[in-house]
C-alpha cells in the first residue's frame, strides 16, 4: 500500500460506516430499538466532533486541496483512493455532520411501515452519511463516481422500504433517474481519463492532475464531456425539466431521508458543477452557460409557481427546493466570485432551512395525520410554538434578511447581475413568488379558524370549525415536545447566526471559489476599484 497524508477524512468516512454496521447488527434483537437509536445518535455525534476537527484543521489560505489522503486502489487503471477537501467540500461536510444528528433526533418517533425495524432505518441513515462524505471528500474522479452511485443504495432502501404509500414507485423512479445520470457521467469520466492519458502519457483519475490538462482539450470534446457530467448533476440538483423525480421521492421519503435527500444529496449536483464541470471544462462551461442560465431561471419561476399550487405538504417542500436549486445554478454559471460564493453558501443554507421546513412539516403531519394542506386550519392557535417555528423555517426559505438564506440569495443575485442582468432580474421575481408560497401555506395551515378535519380527535366533519378553547381541542393536539424543540433549536440558531455573521463560512468558501474562477480562466466583473476605501 502506497499511502500518504492526513487520516482525518478517512476517519470522517469510516465513523458513520462503522456506525451503520454496528447499528444494523445491534438491531437484530426485537427489543434493541432504543439501543440502536442511541448508538446511531452516538456515532453521529462522534462524526460531528471529527467534522469540527476537520474544520479546525483546514486553512482557508492554504492549498487548493487539503487534509489529503491517498492510497493505491486499482493501480493498472490509475485509480487511487484519494480524499481531500477544499472550502466548498468542507462546508458541505460540515453541513452533513450537523444535519445527521438532527435528522436522527427528528426520526426518533418515526412511525415505520409494518415489518421494518428502527435499527435498519438508522443504520441506513448512517450509511447514507458515509456515502455522502465520500462524494464530497473524493478527489479521484473514479472514486467520486463510485460514491456517487453507492450513495443511491441506502437512499433507495430508505425510500423504498420506509417511505409513504407510493414508496415503491418513488424509489424506483429516483433510482432510475440517478442511475441513468450516473451512467452518462461514467461515459464522461472515461472520456476525461482518455483525454488525460493522451496528454499525460499515463492514465490517471486524479482530479488535480486532470484539471491541468483537460482544460486544453478542443471545445467540441469539452462540450461532450461537459454534457455527460452536466446531465448527471442536473438530475441530482434537479433542474427543470429533469426534476420530476424529486417531488415523488421527497413526498414518499420518510422525513429523515427527505431532509438528507433534499438537504444534502441533491447538492452533489451543484457541487459537481463547481468541482467537475467548471474546472475540467472551462471552455464548454462558458459556451454552454447561457443554456444553464435559462434552465436555472426557468427552475426558479417554474418551481415557485408549482409550489404555490401544491395541495400536498411534502411535494410543496420539494417544489420550493426546485426553485432554490435554480438560484444555486444561476450563481454557479454567472461566473463571479460573489455569485459562486453565494451559491455555495446557498447549498449550506438550503440544507438548513429546507431541513427545518421538512422537520416542521413532519411535526405538523404527526399531529394532523394528513399530507393535504387543505385538511388543516388555524393550527397556530393550538400549537403556537410549532406555528412560530414553522414561520421561522418559512421566512428562512423566502430569504428574509436576518436569516441565513438572505445572505446567500443576495450574493447569488448581486453577483450574477453584472454578467447576466436579464436572468437575474427574472430570478429576482422569484423572491415575490417565494413570499407567496411560504405565506400562503402558512396561512392555510396555521391561520384562520381552527378546522378539525385533520387534527386528530377534532373530527367535526370535513372542514368543520372547531372551538379552539374547548377541552377536546386542547387535549387532542399538543404543542411541541421537548425532543422536538431540541431538534429544531440548533437549526433556528444556525438560521440566525449565519444570517447575521456568515463571515467565518464565507472566509472558508471564498478562496476556493476564487480558485475555481481562475481555473475557469475568468476574473470578476466587479473588482475592487481605486478610490474605494474598502
Amino acid at each position: 500500500m502506497n499511502q500518504s497524508g492526513s487520516v482525518l477524512l478517512l476517519v470522517l468516512l469510516l465513523v458513520p460506516l462503522v456506525g451503520g454496521l454496528v447499528v444494523a447488527v445491534l438491531g437484530r434483537g426485537g427489543r434493541a430499538e432504543r439501543a440502536a437509536k442511541l448508538t446511531a445518535l452516538g456515532f453521529s455525534l462522534v462524526e460531528l466532533v471529527v467534522a469540527i476537527a476537520t474544520w479546525v484543521g483546514y486553512d482557508p489560505a492554504g492549498a487548493r486541496l487539503q487534509l489529503t489522503f491517498s492510497a493505491d486502489w486499482i493501480p493498472p487503471l490509475g485509480v487511487r483512493f484519494s480524499l481531500g477537501v477544499d472550502g466548498i467540500a468542507l462546508v458541505m461536510l460540515a453541513l452533513i455532520a450537523v444535519l445527521v444528528p438532527i435528522v436522527i433526533g427528528g426520526s426518533w418517533a418515526e412511525k415505520l411501515p409494518e415489518g421494518r425495524t428502527a435499527a435498519g432505518f438508522f443504520a441506513l441513515l448512517l450509511l447514507m452519511e458515509a456515502g455522502m462524505v465520500g462524494v464530497f471528500a473524493a478527489t479521484d474522479v473514479f472514486l467520486f463516481y463510485v460514491f456517487f452511485e453507492a450513495v443511491l443504495v441506502p437512499m433507495y432502501f430508505l425510500i423504498g422500504r420506509f417511505g409513504g404509500p407510493r414508496r415503491q414507485y418513488a424509489a424506483v423512479k429516483f433510482f432510475l433517474y440517478s442511475l441513468l445520470g450516473g451512467l452518462i457521467m461514467l461515459a464522461s469520466v472515461i472520456g476525461v481519463y482518455v483525454v488525460g492519458a493522451e496528454r499525460l502519457g499515463t492514465g490517471t483519475f486524479d482530479w488535480a492532475t486532470l484539471v491541468t490538462v483537460v482544460k486544453d482539450a478542443p471545445a467540441s470534446t469539452q462540450i461532450w464531456l461537459f454534457l455527460g457530467f452536466f446531465v448527471a448533476f442536473a438530475i441530482k440538483a434537479p433542474l427543470v425539466p429533469l426534476h420530476t423525480w424529486l417531488p415523488d421521492a421527497g413526498a414518499e421519503a420518510p422525513v429523515g431521508a427527505g431532509v438528507l435527500l433534499v438537504g444534502v444529496l441533491d447538492k452533489i449536483g451543484t457541487f459537481g458543477f463547481l468541482r467537475y464541470c467548471l474546472p475540467l471544462f472551462p471552455v464548454a462551461s462558458q459556451e454552454l452557460a447561457p443554456l444553464v442560465l435559462v434552465l436555472s431561471v426557468a427552475g426558479v419561476l417554474y418551481g415557485s409557481l408549482l409550489a404555490v399550487a401544491q395541495s400536498d405538504l411534502k411535494r410543496f417542500v420539494a417544489y420550493t427546493s426546485i426553485a432554490h436549486f435554480g438560484f444555486i445554478a444561476l450563481g454557479v454559471f454567472a461566473f463571479s466570485s460573489q455569485a459562486q460564493a453565494g451559491a455555495v453558501l446557498y447549498m449550506v443554507n438550503h440544507g438548513i432551512s429546507t431541513g427545518m421546513l421538512f422537520l416542521v412539516i413532519a411535526m405538523v403531519m404527526a399531529r394532523g395525520g394528513s399530507r393535504t394542506i387543505s385538511d388543516y386550519g388555524g393550527m397556530a392557535k393550538l400549537t403556537p410554538v410549532l406555528g412560530g417555528l414553522f414561520l421561522v423555517a418559512g421566512l428562512s426559505s423566502l430569504a428574509l434578511p436576518g436569516t441565513n438564506s438572505f445572505v446567500s440569495e443576495f450574493l447569488v443575485l448581486i453577483g450574477s447581475f453584472p454578467n447576466a442582468p436579464v436572468y437575474t432580474v427574472l430570478a429576482a421575481f422569484g423572491m415575490v413568488l417565494a413570499a407567496l408560497y411560504v405565506l400562503w401555506v402558512y396561512q392555510q395551515i396555521m391561520q384562520g379558524p381552527v378546522r378539525g378535519n385533520a387534527l386528530v380527535g377534532l373530527a367535526g366533519g370535513p372542514g368543520a370549525a372547531v372551538n379552539p378553547d374547548s377541552d377536546t381541542a386542547r387535549a387532542s393536539v399538543s404543542d411541541l415536545s421537548r425532543r422536538e424543540v431540541a431538534v429544531l433549536a440548533p437549526l433556528v440558531a444556525l438560521v440566525l447566526v449565519l444570517g447575521f455573521y456568515p463571515k467565518p463560512v464565507l472566509d472558508v468558501i471564498t478562496p476556493s471559489v476564487n480558485a475555481t474562477m481562475s481555473e475557469v480562466g475568468l476574473s470578476d466583473p466587479v473588482t475592487v476599484q481605486e478610490g474605494n476605501s474598502r
Binding site: G191, F406, G531
Partner: protein, 658 residues
C-alpha cells in the same frame, strides 16, 4: 473640468464623514435594546406574561433616552462634523463586495431615531392599556419591539444593504402585527397581501442595489454618494425609478397602495405606529437619503413628484367615501405620504420639507389613530362611523385630542400641519411652468378634500345624533361608550401637544431645515413660481374652509342614515371600490397567476413527467409502464446499462475524432 471639480468637491464632502466616538460608540445599543426585548419575550414565551409588556416598554424608552443623548451629542458638534459612521461588524464580505454592518449617525438618521423611539415609546405605553384584555399581549410587545429594532436598522444603517435589511425587517414585523389576530381570515389575508405587495417593491430596491454594485463596486452610502456622478444618466434614471418602486411598496403609493387600507386589520396601536407614523414613511426616507442620486436625475425626480401628486389625490378621493374610521385614516395616510413623496420629488427645493411633514404627520396621525383606538375601545371595537355620533361628552379627552389632530391635519393656521403642508404646497407652486400648476394644483385640491373627509369623520364620530343608542354591536352587546384609562389617554395628550407645537418649532427660524442640512443639503427657495408666495396660503385656507363647509352641509346639519346609501353616483361607487385598485390587481395578477400555477401543475404531471416516464417506458421496452417497473426493474437496468455503454462509445469516438 467642471465634472472633476464636482467630483473633488463631493470627495471632500465624503472625507468629512468621521468615525463615531465618545457616547456614540455604543450607538448599536439603540437597535440592540429593542431586539433584546423581542428575543426575551419570544423565547421566554408564557413565562414572561406577567412582566413582558413592561420589558417591551422599557427597552424602547431606554432607546429613546439614549437617542436623545446622541442627539445632543451631535448638536454639540460643528455642523460639518455631524455625519459620523460606526462600524459594528463585517457582514457579507466576498472580494470586491464588502458589506459591513455599520451605522450612519447624521441629522437625518437621528431625527428618525427620535421619531421612531419617541412615538414608539408612547404607543408601547398606550398598548399596555389597549391590549390589556388580550391573552397574547406579551407576544404583541415582542413584535412591536422587533419592529422598532428593524426600523432603527433601516434608518441607521450606513449602506443600501443594511437599509434593505431593515426594510424587509419592518415588513415582516408589519406582517406579524397585521396578522396578530391570525385566527381571523381577513387579518391573515391582509398581512399576506401587505408582505407580497411590499416584496414587489423590495425587488425594485434590490435591483437598484445590484446596479450600484455593478457600476460603483460598493453599496455604502458614503462612497455611493461621493461617486454617483460616475453613473451614466440611463443608470441613474433606472436607479431612481427602482428606488421609487421600493418606496411605493413600503409607503403605500400608487400603484402599490392597495395593501395599506387592508392592513388596518391589525390592532390599532399597530396602525398608529407602523401604518401611519413610521414604517410607511420609509419610502420618503429612502428618497431623501438618496438625495445625491436624485439630485443628478431630474427625470427620476419628476416621476417621483408625479407619483406623489397622483397618490395624494387617490387617497383623498377614496377617503371621502369610506365609513370605517380606521380606513378613512389609512387613506388619509396614503394621501399625506403622497404629499411627502411629492415634496422630496422636488429635489433640493423639497427634501427637508418632505421630512418636516413626515415628522408633524408622525405626531398628528399617530394621535388620530390612538384616538380612533380609544373610540373603538369604548365602543365594543366598532369601526363604522355611521354607528357613532355624539361621543364627545362620553370620551372628552379622546375627543379633544382627536380634534386637535384633526385641526393639525387639515392645516388649521398655527398648528403643525399648517406649517408643514403649506410649505409643500408653496414649493409645488414654486415649480416652473406646467409643473407648478399641476403639482401645486394637486396639492391645493388635496388640502380641500382632506378638510372635507376629516371634517366628515369628526362630525360623524363626536357630534350629532347618538346613532349607537338604538343599536347593538355585531356580538349583540349594547354600546356603553366610556373614556379610556389614563395609560391610553396620556400618550394621546402628549401626541396632541406635538400636533399643536411641532410645526411651529420645526418651521420657525428654519430650525429643522438647518439641522438637516448636513444630510440633505441646503433647502433651495423657489424663485420662479407660477403663483406669488403670499397668495398660496390664502388659497389653501379658502379651499380648506370650503371643504369643512361642504362636510358640514352634507353630514353636520342633518341626520345621517346608519347604513350607507346604496344608490350613489358613479364617482362615489368608484371611490368605495378603492378606485378599482384591488379589482385591477385581481384581474391582472392574482387570477392569471392562479390560473398559470394550476396549468403548470397539469403540465408538470402530464407533460414533463409523462414525457420522462414515456422515455423510461420506451427504454424499458414497449410494454414497460412505470407501474410495472417493479417487475421490469432488472430489464430497465440492463437497458440503461446498454444505453450508458452506447454513450461511452460515443464519448470515446468524440475524443478520437476531435
Amino acid at each position: 473640468m467642471t465634472n472633476l471639480a464636482a467630483a473633488q468637491a463631493t470627495l471632500a464632502e465624503a472625507a468629512q464623514v468621521g468615525a463615531a466616538g465618545g457616547v456614540a460608540r455604543f450607538a448599536w445599543l439603540l437597535i440592540a435594546l429593542p431586539a433584546l426585548g423581542a428575543a426575551v419575550l419570544l423565547i421566554g414565551g408564557k413565562r414572561t406574561n406577567a412582566w413582558g409588556h413592561l420589558l417591551g416598554c422599557a427597552t424602547v424608552v431606554l432607546s429613546f433616552l439614549y437617542g436623545t443623548l446622541l442627539f445632543f451629542d451631535t448638536t454639540d458638534l460643528d455642523p460639518q462634523r455631524r455625519v459620523r459612521e460606526l462600524d459594528v461588524f463585517s457582514w457579507i464580505p466576498v472580494n470586491a463586495l464588502q458589506v459591513d454592518f455599520g451605522l450612519r449617525l447624521d441629522p437625518l438618521s437621528l431625527t428618525f431615531v427620535l421619531l421612531v423611539t419617541g412615538v414608539g415609546a408612547l404607543i408601547h405605553i398606550y398598548s399596555v392599556g389597549y391590549m390589556s384584555h388580550d391573552a397574547d399581549r406579551r407576544k404583541f410587545f415582542a413584535y412591536l419591539n422587533l419592529f422598532v429594532a428593524a426600523m432603527l436598522v433601516l434608518v441607521l444603517g450606513n449602506s443600501f444593504v443594511t437599509l434593505y435589511f431593515g426594510w424587509e425587517g419592518v415588513g415582516v414585523a408589519s406582517y406579524l402585527l397585521i396578522a396578530f389576530w391570525q385566527h381571523r381570515p381577513a387579518a391573515a389575508t391582509a398581512a399576506k397581501k401587505a408582505f407580497l405587495m411590499n416584496r414587489v417593491g423590495d425587488v425594485g430596491l434590490a435591483i437598484a442595489i445590484f446596479l450600484l454594485f455593478r457600476d460603483l463596486g460598493t453599496t455604502q452610502y458614503t462612497e455611493v454618494f461621493a461617486r454617483a456622478g460616475e453613473l451614466s444618466s440611463g443608470t441613474l434614471l433606472a436607479i431612481t425609478l427602482l428606488l421609487l418602486l421600493g418606496a411605493c411598496g413600503k409607503s403605500g403609493q400608487f400603484p402599490l397602495q392597495a395593501w395599506l387600507p387592508d392592513a388596518m386589520e391589525g390592532p390599532t396601536p399597530v396602525s398608529a405606529l407602523i401604518h401611519a407614523a413610521t414604517m410607511v414613511t420609509a419610502g420618503v426616507y429612502l428618497v431623501a437619503r438618496s438625495n445625491p442620486i436624485y439630485d443628478l436625475s431630474p427625470d427620476g425626480r419628476l416621476v417621483v413628484t408625479v407619483i406623489g401628486a397622483l397618490t395624494l389625490l387617490i387617497g383623498c378621493v377614496i377617503g371621502c367615501a369610506y365609513d370605517d374610521i380606521k380606513k378613512v385614516l389609512a387613506y388619509s395616510t396614503v394621501s399625506q405620504i403622497g404629499y411627502m413623496i411629492l415634496a422630496v420629488g422636488l429635489g433640493p427645493a423639497g427634501y427637508a420639507l418632505g421630512i418636516m411633514h413626515l415628522l408633524t404627520h408622525g405626531f398628528f396621525k399617530a394621535g388620530l389613530f390612538l384616538g380612533a383606538g380609544s373610540v373603538m375601545h369604548g365602543m365594543n371595537d366598532e369601526t363604522d362611523i355611521r354607528r357613532f355620533g355624539g361621543l364627545f361628552r362620553y370620551m372628552p379627552v379622546t375627543a379633544v385630542t382627536f380634534i386637535i389632530g384633526y385641526l393639525a391635519i387639515i392645516g388649521f393656521p398655527g398648528l403643525s400641519g399648517y406649517f408643514s403642508k403649506d410649505a409643500i404646497i408653496e414649493a409645488a407652486f414654486g415649480q416652473e411652468g406646467w409643473r407648478g400648476w399641476v403639482f401645486g394644483g394637486a396639492a391645493l385640491l388635496g388640502a380641500g378634500l382632506t378638510a372635507f373627509y376629516m371634517t366628515r369623520l369628526v362630525l360623524l364620530t363626536f357630534f350629532g345624533e347618538k346613532r349607537w343608542e338604538k343599536l347593538t354591536s355585531a356580538d349583540g352587546r349594547a354600546y356603553h361608550p366610556h373614556e379610556s384609562p389614563s395609560v391610553m389617554t396620556v400618550p394621546m395628550i402628549v401626541l396632541a401637544i406635538g400636533s399643536v407645537g411641532a410645526g411651529a418649532f420645526f418651521a420657525l427660524g428654519d430650525n429643522l431645515v438647518t439641522w438637516l442640512e448636513p444630510s440633505l443639503g441646503a433647502l433651495e427657495a423657489s424663485e420662479h413660481g407660477v403663483l406669488p408666495h403670499a397668495l398660496v396660503p390664502v388659497l389653501t385656507i379658502l379651499l380648506v374652509a370650503a371643504g369643512v363647509a361642504a362636510a358640514w352641509l352634507l353630514v353636520g346639519r342633518k341626520p345621517v342614515p346608519v347604513t350607507r346609501p346604496v344608490r350613489v353616483a358613479l364617482p362615489v361607487r368608484a371611490a368605495r371600490a378603492d378606485l378599482y385598485a384591488n379589482a385591477i390587481n385581481e384581474a391582472l395578477f392574482a387570477r392569471p397567476g392562479a390560473w398559470l400555477a394550476r396549468a403548470l401543475v397539469f403540465v408538470d404531471n402530464k407533460g414533463v413527467d409523462g414525457l420522462v416516464n414515456g422515455t423510461a417506458a420506451l427504454l424499458g421496452g414497449g410494454s414497460g409502464r412505470m407501474r410495472r417497473l417493479q417487475t421490469g426493474f432488472v430489464r430497465s437496468y440492463a437497458l440503461s446499462m446498454l444505453g450508458g455503454s452506447v454513450l461511452v462509445v460515443a464519448a470515446l469516438l468524440v475524443v478520437r475524432f476531435a
